[in-house]
Symmetry: C2
Subunit: 329 residues, 2 copies
């Protein structure tokens, strides 16, 4: 059983950024490092990079590897959360069946837990976010993609082959725009950052809009941040795109509510950065598309850990598995 001052390392493997965090068992971050991922050099190089970052962090803190209780790793899926093997995530080229858990365990002689990053984010929100008494929580990433982690009755629900929670690829617009995943009309194909920007660019050519000015008059440079900034300034096209985003995101969340009847849905990056400007229309569309008795018990919020949810995701994963093993809560 872990005590509050026990030290845990959290490793966050993203396609563009690696982060290493040192934390105690209360989820307080003691030190942190991050570097751009040397993704092109393949899995061995990235894992070596990660271990070097961890060793440098420990050195700075005057610690040895054996002073850690264990390591949690959050990584893009698909992966097997039991064996800790990674299966070709779209953002990590060349990671074909990489036994990440085993490799890091062998290198560090420490217990290692590997979890999908959206699930890990859900655990961080559950354990370290607002209101830790929550039992049923859905965490949604909303940035480059739309992912999800589902906590039911206080535990991550993994599904049959670790693919539960892929709520960004529910179909909310039959025969809608093509999604990177190969399907059509997925929530992600309309409401992810790049999808919001794509819709903005499609219309910005034909219509006078502040978005274009914010993007230095370069149509191709328009991002979702420009869309939200222009909408806040009252730009009519940008406001329509934000409203449409809230509408489809509202349908997607309403469908999750009708299926899972959760206590809270927490949404990452774009919702964190835009707060009620986005959440208010979003809640209105969720309410419109779900039952009052289901809507009333569920809070629709930005991730309560804000943009630092990623820092605690990997740590929460390790702590969670320890709690499961020891049967404590």
């Amino acid at each position: 059983l872990l005590a509050g001052d026990d030290r845990i390392a959290g490793l966050d493997i993203g396609g563009t950024k690696l982060a290493v965090v040192l934390s105690n068992a209360r989820g307080e971050v003691l030190a942190k490092r991050s570097e751009p991922t040397r993704a092109k050099e393949g899995p061995e190089a990235v894992i070596a990079q990660l271990l070097a970052m961890l060793e440098a962090l420990l050195l700075d803190e005057g610690m040895w590897m054996q002073g850690l209780e264990g390591i949690g790793i959050a990584c893009g899926g698909p992966l097997n959360s039991k064996t800790g093997v990674i299966y070709s995530p779209p953002n990590l080229p060349g990671w074909n069946a990489v036994p990440l858990k085993e490799l890091v365990e062998n290198a560090t002689k420490l217990p290692v837990i590997v979890e999908n990053d959206a699930n890990a984010g859900a655990l961080a929100e559950l354990r370290f976010g607002n209101n830790p008494k929550i039992r049923n929580l859905v965490y949604m990433t909303m940035s480059t993609g739309i992912g999800g982690g589902i906590v039911l009755d206080g535990r991550i629900y993994h599904g049959t082959n670790d693919l539960a929670g892929e709520v960004g690829h529910q179909v909310v617009m039959p025969d809608g725009p093509e999604c990177k995943c190969g399907k059509r009309g997925c929530l992600e194909a309309i409401c992810s950052g790049p999808s919001i920007a794509r819709r903005a660019r499609q219309h910005a050519a034909a219509e006078d809009t502040l978005m274009l000015e914010l993007a230095g008059n370069d149509l191709e440079s328009i991002t979702s941040a420009h869309v939200f900034a222009a909408a806040r300034a009252g730009d009519s096209l940008a406001s329509r795109i934000v409203d449409e985003t809230a509408y489809y995101m509202g349908i997607g969340i309403a469908n999750i509510l009708q299926t899972l009847n959760p206590e809270v849905v927490r949404i990452g990056t774009i919702a964190v950065r835009n707060g009620d400007f986005f959440l208010e229309p979003l809640r209105r569309y969720v309410r419109q598309n779900t039952w009052p008795s289901i809507f009333e018990v569920c809070r629709i919020e930005a991730a309560s850990l804000g943009e630092s949810v990623g820092d605690l995701a990997a740590v929460a994963t390790f702590l969670e598995r320890q709690w499961e093993l020891t049967g404590t809560d």
Copy 2:
């Protein structure tokens, strides 16, 4: 702990039909009675009717009430599965906060468990259907309405206020047809029996179709059974309506798969009656709208207990709660 020969009663409360079943703990039905529900007379009358049916059934079998280990009750929701209080189901007028569990416990002096009928059906499929090793199962009713019961990691998932699994009221056609629930574009508003019949009637007036003949040339008499019968006979309009039904049902099920990554989805009445004639196009549309890695691990089937799933639903509910209490599986 129950032994295989222990006797359990299952009571099934529907808006049009009441059923009482005597079973052993292996889920073998020993005797059964059913009667039309005296729904108009209100809850006291219906509960009295149900208890009289149970007493008559026991008398026939030469048993006393105290020879039963307990009673499971399956009833339309909304209801509280812990307290056993029923809150105004649409098909049971006047059932406002009826303490069903308490009333039946007081009348019989037996332990009573109350469960939502779709959840109870899911439990029956889990315990007594094909392949009892399944851990993650979604059961969908598909008749007057579309309901759902979700079994995750071997247990019914109830949600925050007993409203999980209302997958028939996910939105699959934004701004689509009005649903009885008050929303628009719900799966139920397109794919339930009455919704299939409604769409058939809308088109049958303008187009030559076998459906009209099957319904005695009375447009208003067309039912979903006529639609499927005409489609089997090659009728073009009926075939289009069946295909459209499979298309939207496919999207709804695909969305469930992306969220829950289950091992099996079992579908009631309409899928049971039409088998592969409906399930084959349905599976094609599910495949088209979900990820291969999620689709491959999930079987889309008709309820394996067929139309007798209702007989075992209430019994399975009682057994399940006993298993939970004793911690055995």
